[in-house]
């Protein structure tokens, strides 16, 4: 069961792996997988959306967490 209403989702095929999201994530929930793309640790992600606002490619999105139950 998810704790937060939103979560970050990355379009892996368009991600350029620049690492901006890793730098801005307040929960250190993002890492770059072998220089290929950014991976979001869903356990840590609180869905704040800061990564999405800073992503220069605009490929990380704040989306509704479907597993979230009130």
């Amino acid at each position: 069961m998810a704790k937060y209403k939103y979560k970050a989702e990355n379009e892996k095929d368009r991600c350029v792996a620049c690492g901006v999201c890793v730098k801005v994530c307040p929960k250190s929930a993002i890492s770059i997988y072998k220089g290929c793309y950014a991976v979001i640790n869903e356990e840590e992600c609180v869905g704040c959306g800061i990564c999405g606002k800073n992503c220069p490619a605009g490929v990380i999105h704040k989306v509704e967490n479907k597993e979230y139950v009130k």
């Binding site: 350029v16 690492g19 770059i32 605009g58």
Partner: protein, 182 residues
């Protein structure tokens, strides 16, 4: 690291010989990627990327708008890489011609892939002509990407340049190849 990048451009303005340090920015990221370090260079060390963040975020010059989506498309990124390599090869070719004595030294900076800007004041110490030609050529490439990058940082988000940076693209392709093999 952004200080290093800013220093590089300042030094090249006064003495073109320093432009040779730019080779580091081409070799290190490739070597890191080849030896399995992924995009550590982009992620932690790229002085230019940090300079864009400094200008865009710390100085607050960036409008923070999202760049058009086609910038991150494979076609544009690879297309720009080919475009970039074409001009890189052309620059090396001119260096070779100067070394052979076919061409004379151009004391200009080739900006935005089209304009030749006079830069003779930076040629202070007499060095072998081809070495000087390579310095002028490389500095032109570096300065062009800085100008494009700063404009993109201001109009869009900081580090929008990174979306289609030829070096970043090359290191990512190497990383993908390496990750795919395992």
């Amino acid at each position: 690291m952004w200080v290093v990048s800013a220093t590089y451009f300042a030094l090249g303005f006064f003495n073109i010989v320093f432009a040779w340090f730019g080779v580091i920015c081409f070799l290190i990221p490739l070597l890191i990627a080849i030896f399995g370090g992924g995009k550590q260079y982009c992620n932690h060390y790229c002085g230019r990327g940090q300079l864009f963040l400094k200008i865009g975020n710390s100085l607050g010059w960036s409008k923070g708008r999202l760049a058009p989506r086609w910038l991150s498309s494979k076609y544009f990124r690879h297309g720009f890489l080919v475009f970039f390599l074409f001009f890189f090869v052309q620059m090396v070719w001119l260096t070779v011609e100067v070394a052979k004595g076919i061409e004379t030294l151009h004391e200009t900076i080739h900006l935005m892939w089209s304009f030749d800007v006079p830069w003779h004041w930076a040629y202070r110490t007499e060095i072998t002509p081809w070495k000087a030609q390579f310095a002028f050529g490389l500095y032109g490439i570096m300065l062009t990407s800085l100008i494009v990058g700063v404009i993109l940082t201001i109009v869009y988000r900081p580090r929008t340049w990174c979306v289609f940076c030829p070096m970043g693209n090359m290191t990512q392709q190497i990383s993908k190849l390496k990750a795919g093999k395992k």
